[in-house]
Symmetry: C2
Subunit: 738 residues, 2 copies
Amino acid sequence: MIAQVLSDNWQLRQRSPRATLEEDLASHKGWIPATVPGYVHQDLMREGVIPDPFVGLAELEVQWVGDADWLYRCTFEVDDELLRMPYVDLCCDGLDTFATVWLNGQEVLHSDNQFVPHRAAVREILREGSNELWILFESPLRAGRRLQEQHGEMRAWNGDPSRVYVRKAGYHYGWDWGPTLLAIGPWREIRLEGYSARIDTVRILHEVAPDLSSAAVRLYLGLEGDLEGREVLVRLLDPEGHPAHTDLIVARNHIEHEFDLQFPHLWWPRGHGPQQLYTLQVSVREGEATLASRTLRTGFRRLRLLQEPVKGEEGSSFTFEINNVPLFCGGYNWIPADSFTTRVDRRRYERWLRLAAEGNATMLRVWGGGIYEADAFYELCDELGLLVWQDFMFACGMYPAHEEFLQSVRREAESAITRLHVHPSIVIWCGNNEDYQVAQSIGAYDPDISPEEARDTFPGRMIYERVLPEVCARLDPSRPYWPGSPYAGADPNDPTQGDRHVWEVWHGQLAPYQRYPSFRSRFVSEFGMQALPSRRTIEAFAPPSERYPESRTLDHHNKAQDGPRRIAVYLSDNLRAPCGLAEAVYATQLVQAEALAAGIRGWRREWRGRGRYGCSGALVWQLNDCWPVTSWAVADYYLRPKAAYYVVRRELAPITIGYSREGSRLQLWCSNLTGEPFSGQLEVTQWSLQGEKILQTSLEVNAPAYGSVELGEAHVHAFRTTVVGLRLLAGGSVIARA
Amino acid sequence: MIAQVLSDNWQLRQRSPRATLEEDLASHKGWIPATVPGYVHQDLMREGVIPDPFVGLAELEVQWVGDADWLYRCTFEVDDELLRMPYVDLCCDGLDTFATVWLNGQEVLHSDNQFVPHRAAVREILREGSNELWILFESPLRAGRRLQEQHGEMRAWNGDPSRVYVRKAGYHYGWDWGPTLLAIGPWREIRLEGYSARIDTVRILHEVAPDLSSAAVRLYLGLEGDLEGREVLVRLLDPEGHPAHTDLIVARNHIEHEFDLQFPHLWWPRGHGPQQLYTLQVSVREGEATLASRTLRTGFRRLRLLQEPVKGEEGSSFTFEINNVPLFCGGYNWIPADSFTTRVDRRRYERWLRLAAEGNATMLRVWGGGIYEADAFYELCDELGLLVWQDFMFACGMYPAHEEFLQSVRREAESAITRLHVHPSIVIWCGNNEDYQVAQSIGAYDPDISPEEARDTFPGRMIYERVLPEVCARLDPSRPYWPGSPYAGADPNDPTQGDRHVWEVWHGQLAPYQRYPSFRSRFVSEFGMQALPSRRTIEAFAPPSERYPESRTLDHHNKAQDGPRRIAVYLSDNLRAPCGLAEAVYATQLVQAEALAAGIRGWRREWRGRGRYGCSGALVWQLNDCWPVTSWAVADYYLRPKAAYYVVRRELAPITIGYSREGSRLQLWCSNLTGEPFSGQLEVTQWSLQGEKILQTSLEVNAPAYGSVELGEAHVHAFRTTVVGLRLLAGGSVIARA
């Protein structure tokens, strides 16, 4: 197979509503150089047509871009070699969103789903010499509204409600942390592929035996082209590069191939063992000649999602187990790292993911209002040992379920699973973000009827309970499928089972963050607290005259409903009122840090060991930002960590301690995520507000592996105006503090 | 009749729980001088036994006072003349609360209702030379809790729930603007009265004819003592002191006497006419000798509470009319002006009421969690032309209805009405404050059943719908009785009828104050916004180290649930965050001012003229404070007005203007409370934020009498970052602005 990437000689211009398409394309005016892959906004910015929407209030000035239609054109010559191939396909890995593609004047494909890659046979259309590729992108807002007119307006939290009809990243429509920037363009690579035979799909599923001594591997290959007389070579290399399995198979369109691996080198989540990755090489051969090949890296691990009784409590646990090791999944929610994801290169992914990993994260949740992330993201998660909770891209809305839409969703899910399933880091497929809650909020969720019966009232259930589980079962039965985040059956926010978003703090009645532990959940898949980004980040988007709390510019860069007033509440509850920007940055970051610590510490306490895993996860909303903004992120768009990042890191350390206090009584606990029992000294100190040490005691701590253990009571002076601190010591160093 | 006031030689001491009463009274230790009338706390403060609870956190240190029992004793000699009288009564005008009184060792009366005056015949117990009067005050907290144990705990907002069993000012138990200071003592005068005949009660009711040309006056007199052969002289003097009516009547225990006044000098509310007061002199005579006499001042006015259809709307109006003049009742809620009301002298009342009157208030509401105010209060309201909405003293609780309690309430209502009904300023008797809302909040209010049927679920209805209306109908049918504030039948907060407390702003979901006008009501009897008191006031209670927003001391002096965080919300919504105390004082006062203006302006707009009085009142919560505190008051404990006072004055002026703005469109209105049509020029000016005048237009305004009129639209530039101001001009001066 030969590929010719079409990345040069692209131009774009706004489609003129008064001209015919032909006139428009023939026009000499208004074209600017275009970057492919890329987005219209990026080129307009570079050319100075629009200001940078991340600066000041400029977002407001660029809204017209998403309202307009856009034309791309590219003139190219085909490589000779390619033209000699029996098959040539035009491959568009991602067109965002409503795109029609013409090659030499002939329409070759149409797309209405950002997440579906396309391929068109163009051998007969290509010519020697100059070829012309045209793409028309229709305004996603207008196209979505047309669909909305046809099918009816649906309820959506965040963004224009027409977005539920458009298979495009939800956050482009504006979210409570992100600007409204309807990115338009060929966001992933466009190329020609010439071949006589090619490997269309590679799926590799595995099941590690309960005793971890072997893995049953199943390989599914989909081949295209002329396969007669050709063979497929399959080679699996172990982490050291030694062949672990090799086979030569007669080529045919569909190949299923099974084999066992003895004593596989297991892939482990960070902190529990090495991230050992195998390399799978698949090639189509004719004699010694390789006609097509694919190489991918994967890993083998035993994955279970345990939903078992919790001793003495109602409901069931929600505990991920890898290689028989139970996990407390501390970590973060991940959103797209830019409003224009085309700007996020591998290096930027690496910086973000290293930050998470070094912050003791065990899991990231790829949230359903963004994108199925780039390969680099998952490759890095594999390498860093970060688990991934993968949402399908549905968020905070009532989605439709007409047949054409379900068809599109099915194709989208198939391509996502086919691309991503190789990554051992991914441990769950999840149907959506908060769509059950939206339905519940408008009284549309009735768990006692079937998705078919609910098709008019809550059509999305056809997606989450029919289409997606069917695709998952068919293409990747190796991972659990979960209908939504949160989901727990009858009540999406049931504290006794499933996962739960704890927004009683910040949203809801603005509960004090100190009450986090009282909002019980088997798995807290979202919770969070806003804080300002660092001063340097603010200086990057706010002009000097606007650098004060709640200036128009700062408020514009806080998209949360009532964001500034909610911040004001938590500041008022907890701290002396800050004066000016520097103090506000400090104060909000301190409150965020304390809040997240209170949540994690309290929930982790409930992770009490086998049979008693009361809570097995706490994912902070959110790790990252897509622009410079005041949000719940623990690090800002420029990767500058807020104070909370360091505090979360402390609270997610392998061994932690905690206490709750009532008057003179402290209830103490120790949490041990490791496989080794822990012994140490716990030092309890009480200070006056003037800094005098007024009490110090110490006790022995013994914490069994994989659990949190109550250490009983300690007593301090009852005065309210004192500070109590704990330090856990072992081998002469401080292991944990609280 | 001869009176001997017992105000000297009083002592008090804490009752020792280990001694018998006799031992305690005989003890020489621990007695301190006592002020009568007065409260224990005041004497303890003067003697340095307790700190001033208004300063710093001292309130916390004095709580034991309300937990203790207290003894008062007084040694006195009786005036010779008194002892020669055939009848001598000991009169206690107010004992707060659980009091037993012994004269020369003999129990003469017991009281358990602060609001009921007592009288005991003591002729036979008094002796020449030294007499000894003892009073034991039992802790109201303990006594109330005993009743609570007996009858069950009831729901109460604010204060210890046992308060609903105790006929004592509710706010003594602590309120969301007041400290917990369980005042104990003889709060009103104690005296001996010697007589052969006396005038027990004087009731004077009147009805002014619809054409105002005459008034039918009915006089009810209750006489005690030896009446045989005696006469009663009744003289009514007109405002100039000329006799308007004279009669000599044979003395008997009950006298009813009717007469007509032609062309009475009417009493008017401030701004609509003079406050003309008549003087009624009643004396019991034997020949030329006057044995007893009473003089009181009263006024005649035609009073109607109009509940009529409002054109084009549901429900009915709630409009007070005096002498056929419809009123928009702007004004204030009034709370006791001190935690120890014994400190509020006539001069302090006068300062407060002049402040209200000069602030264009039409009405004050004497709120049901305080006291039936001192005579001076109502006399001043009569003189100043301020209308009074008089609550009975029930507030924010589920009150009991056992027979003994109803009996006490009946006596209380009888004495209050008998004392107060002479005041023309009082225009409504109202059953309680927010008790229907408390019942509704716990699902206990079912308007479809009778008070008798609701006796177990909502016993208070026996008070508000049986006892009080019966007493009012019997003793004062001249005024409307209203069951509660708020009240509107099935839904206490019905926007289409009755009165309503608009707490969607501040409480509830913390609605922006700009939305005040959308919270419709026929009569807004409460609405408000907190602001800090002035710096001098803060300096009076906070030590220097605590003089910053949300310091422990400042937060202690804000009793509202979530007070500081709610302030933070409204600051955050509206202003640049204040730095430090001075800015916080300014900022909170500015927000309060803007908020109250938004409410009054919007509601007053609905007062649209005869047949269309959509809203006929807006009473700010609250005029005054009972201690130095951050509260909703527009002037603080030291009578220092906040900014809002001046803005409310502006918005309650006889003629005002207002506008609402959407983009470039202004909707304009003018409100005219006077009886004269108004003509003037309205000047609309728009400025840039830099202070440049960018637009000025002017239009003719004609506003009919007694109503608010829509002036149609004006247009300004649509830019959001401009300021629009209105000035209404007439005769070369600025009449109103907005």
